[in-house]
Symmetry: D2
């Protein structure tokens, strides 16, 4: 990893949101999940990201989820809270609530739903940073936002102290390397990858950490990966990544459904199978994975050595 | 127009949201705008659509805008309220508020930000229709939602009584004709076009009405257009449309900004020039159009015969 | 239609390319098809367009097809020849061959496969117009070329005498209306729509003509439609268009295949059923439609009154 | 790199096509370039790829370029020839010519310009492999072809012996890792990355080699990178990659032009500055980079230690 002293490094899982059979926030399961992740060695928690089904939660539910995570975490690692809202004033409102509820940083995307422009994205992040008294992460996720943050803009906002870091889920490997190279002289700026299966590669290329949804299911594995990379033991990091990449195939198990339902549904199903959360219920209008998919995911967990192992409760 | 008895027909402008210099909802301007539109002969009001900067308003502001419009309208025409939210439960929550505030129908898009699937979109609209006790319109706006509603799905939802109508801003002329053809046997289902410059053409092809943003600026013109079409006076309809299409060039005046800022900024500037609203202020992070753009828009208004004419106050 | 004196107007079908069972160009069928189209009243023939499977033909086959069409047409109507090639020099080479083989105009797209830019598209069309001694049409077909021709650029090239016309298959109804409005003062410039189901609407909006693939199957119907529009008999034009739009549903019959195979496969199958061409064989790697699809298309032909009617041979 | 015995490994630059001031193929420059690349330690030559301006060359020019490269190479390394054509029969025709001209393998994309489908892409590659008696590479380049090859399809075609390898320029890092993992049990199948700035990372993730356009400019650097990775000396590989990633910034120097003109224009300008090729002329309708851009590229070359160094002639 880099010579910079990024504040947010290592494994920072985007915490999934367990639901009861009735579709309500399942507090007990969420608390178990946070404990499991902390025990697994994660160095931060990303609440209310895409993997948390944020887009499916009401404003009250969003607050409730953050409250539970902050409570269960009890200050052990930084909590980064998504403020995934369409535009500036909405992000600022949500960011203020996050601050009150105890978040240590907030994450915002470029404006979405509406069409936008680089000059407006620039202004958007500056206004948020001014208004919300917490470190601000940009979240680059074109599959959701339908625009890509430009490397030049991100680096300028970083240099101006507007951004504390970026979570890059763009899948643009060239852009990512340009970011880490460009951020080299920016002390404290964190470049985090959101991609589950190339964490070893991105760490080799100077990523500061990762926000992999799959780390909900196997935080210990990602911690080993990141530790090996920190020791420049690339053979170990790569072997661990290969195991996790095979496990990640769970997100391709379900067919005839959205990628979100298939992917998050798989993580929830795996967590249910590992005994961490109570159900694999998804937010409406998504349906939970069924029996066939659950069996296939159990097999992948088994291959990865994750079934039958004692799990902290 | 069609032999069907669609409930929602004619000109239904998506009401823009006037702001004060400080960026607050400008009640007096909004009330003047509603009066102007009603005087202009519109047959409905679409509140909280994309053209209303819905994506930029906080939840409280959304409620406030709807309240003002419903109040100013005082039951003269139906008020259709956008419930533009990312997913099902959020739409339902907003739809319930709209009902309480006096809306006559609600409008929802497919899920956005998150990835989705036809089976989930189907379930999404059915759950909303079940939960919100108002006629439900689908809003097909791929430039915002980044998925296109399938013609087959819309017609199925219409046939099943889930949808009362659709506002089509997809720009897909083939899909639109397939909709009006397919909807022919569905009494009461409204097919509305969201496109400003082809209203004559779409009415020829059996559209029930239009939701043109430009109708904020010239409701009288659109009313004449729709009336001519109802009389099968296509030459008059076409001439009116040509005049309006030339006026619509105002949305292409601003450069180096988002399409939203350029387009809605132009409408607001024109309304300011016509004396209906007080400022052309836009929601953050958009900036209002400047002097050069304002002069160009004044010229287009003049060419269209809309400057210097007495406007109701 | 417009007051301008566009050179190319009316129905100009993109002639499909009949193949033998072995996948070779079927000269006899192609000659029958040309005779059928001329008898159906078309005012031009568009050879080697997307609907001609141009992208699937070798250079020699392209020349052969054009030769047959020019021969069968024998000067009765203008023949417009596609020069659908990735970039400038390739278009120029193909354009020169088209001229030699007797084409009356050539059609080119923006550069494709490679990334391009407005300045390069501008230069591209100017270089082609300089090098090829025939009227030049631009072909705007984003579904193939993956860029959209800008209205401003097209109108500039038209004003400068570079372009003689445009075939618009972009599906962008707003852009199309801006084109016909902008072209109003350009004598001789032809704006042709490539969309099958909105020809009435586009003619109302001043299109000069249409290039509908479905006109292969029912040239008489499209001729009636265009004639009615020329007489400002919009009710008749609209009724004819509705019948044709219902017939057009044939392109949605096949599932689990490409849109090209489904659409062109349907046209070929319908022409086979009408007795004009010998087989519905498609170019590799596409497969012809099967029995179930053929039966469904026969039914659509029957509903449209096109089965059992005597067809010129 | 992998335990598999891939046939095609290491650095395989996509050879740029030098042009004379008049825009003709510059044989002397192309021969010098091949000699430079071979001296730089490359393990193969990719002729007629996107970086070779294939989309801009006439059929005769394509043959001429391949002839010159095969001649200059004189059997020292394998020559892989692009058969970048829209559809199956055209690829087969071009593949046959490539075989005759001495290519050692051919490369084809999925069908482009036309819409396609997985079943047709599958059939496309099988028909080519049957007809062309050379190892067949798939080229996954969505930015040109506008469809992405599915991982499942590629692995199936690999397992069936249809494909000898893939050049992946998709920028989809997750897909790439799934490919190398899935190809692990497929002896001889080559997975090559087309991305210049993540070669170290992709090699860590079991890529067999790279096809970086920038390797035209600095083949020695890429050879050192690949050799270090082969020795599992990841610190050296990463340092070399960082230097090359900084050099790659040359493709972002030009503004107001296409990405192709900016990127390939930069490579040609750099090669001109290094004394390998005579001009930086680009194919029509692209313009060569000008003086300001050339100066900026010279600076980047200098920073990378590539100016003033003796270059083999």
């Amino acid at each position: 990893m880099t010579a910079r002293q990024a504040q947010f490094t290592g494994v920072i899982p985007p915490v999934v949101t367990p639901l009861t059979a009735e579709g309500e926030i399942d507090q007990a399961s969420l608390e178990r999940l946070v404990a499991f992740l902390l025990e697994g060695g994660v160095s931060g928690l990303f609440a209310l990201g895409s993997s948390s089904e944020t887009a499916y939660l009401t404003e009250d539910q969003r607050s409730r989820v953050l409250e539970i995570i902050v409570g269960a975490n009890a200050g052990q690692v930084p909590v980064i809270a998504g403020a995934i809202e369409t535009t500036t004033n909405r992000v600022i409102e949500r960011g203020g609530i996050s601050k009150k509820l105890g978040a240590d940083a907030v994450v915002a995307t470029a404006p979405f739903y509406t069409r936008t422009h680089d000059t407006e994205i620039d202004r958007h992040f500056r206004l948020i940073a001014d208004a919300v008294d917490l470190p601000l992460f940009a979240y680059d996720v074109p599959v959701c936002v339908h625009s890509k943050l430009s490397t030049e803009l991100v680096l300028k906002l970083a240099a101006d102290g507007v951004l504390a870091g970026i979570k890059d889920s763009s899948g643009d490997d060239v852009g990512f390397r340009r970011l880490t190279l460009g951020a080299a002289p920016l002390p404290g700026f964190s470049v985090l990858t959101g991609h589950e299966v190339v964490v070893d590669a991105m760490l080799l290329g100077d990523a500061d950490g990762a926000v992999p949804g799959l780390a909900n299911v196997d935080p210990h594995g990602y911690t080993r990966l990141v530790n090996a990379a920190a020791d420049a033991d690339w053979a170990t990091a790569k072997a661990e990544q290969d195991r996790l990449a095979r496990l990640f195939e769970m997100v391709f198990v379900a067919k005839g459904t959205s990628g979100t339902a298939a992917g998050l549904g798989a993580f929830k199903t795996a967590l249910m199978l590992r005994g961490i959360i109570a159900t694999n219920v998804m937010s409406e209008p998504m349906l939970p994975l069924g029996g066939t998919e659950t069996a296939a995911i159990a097999e992948l967990l088994d291959t990865a050595g994750l079934l039958g192992t004692a799990v902290p409760r």
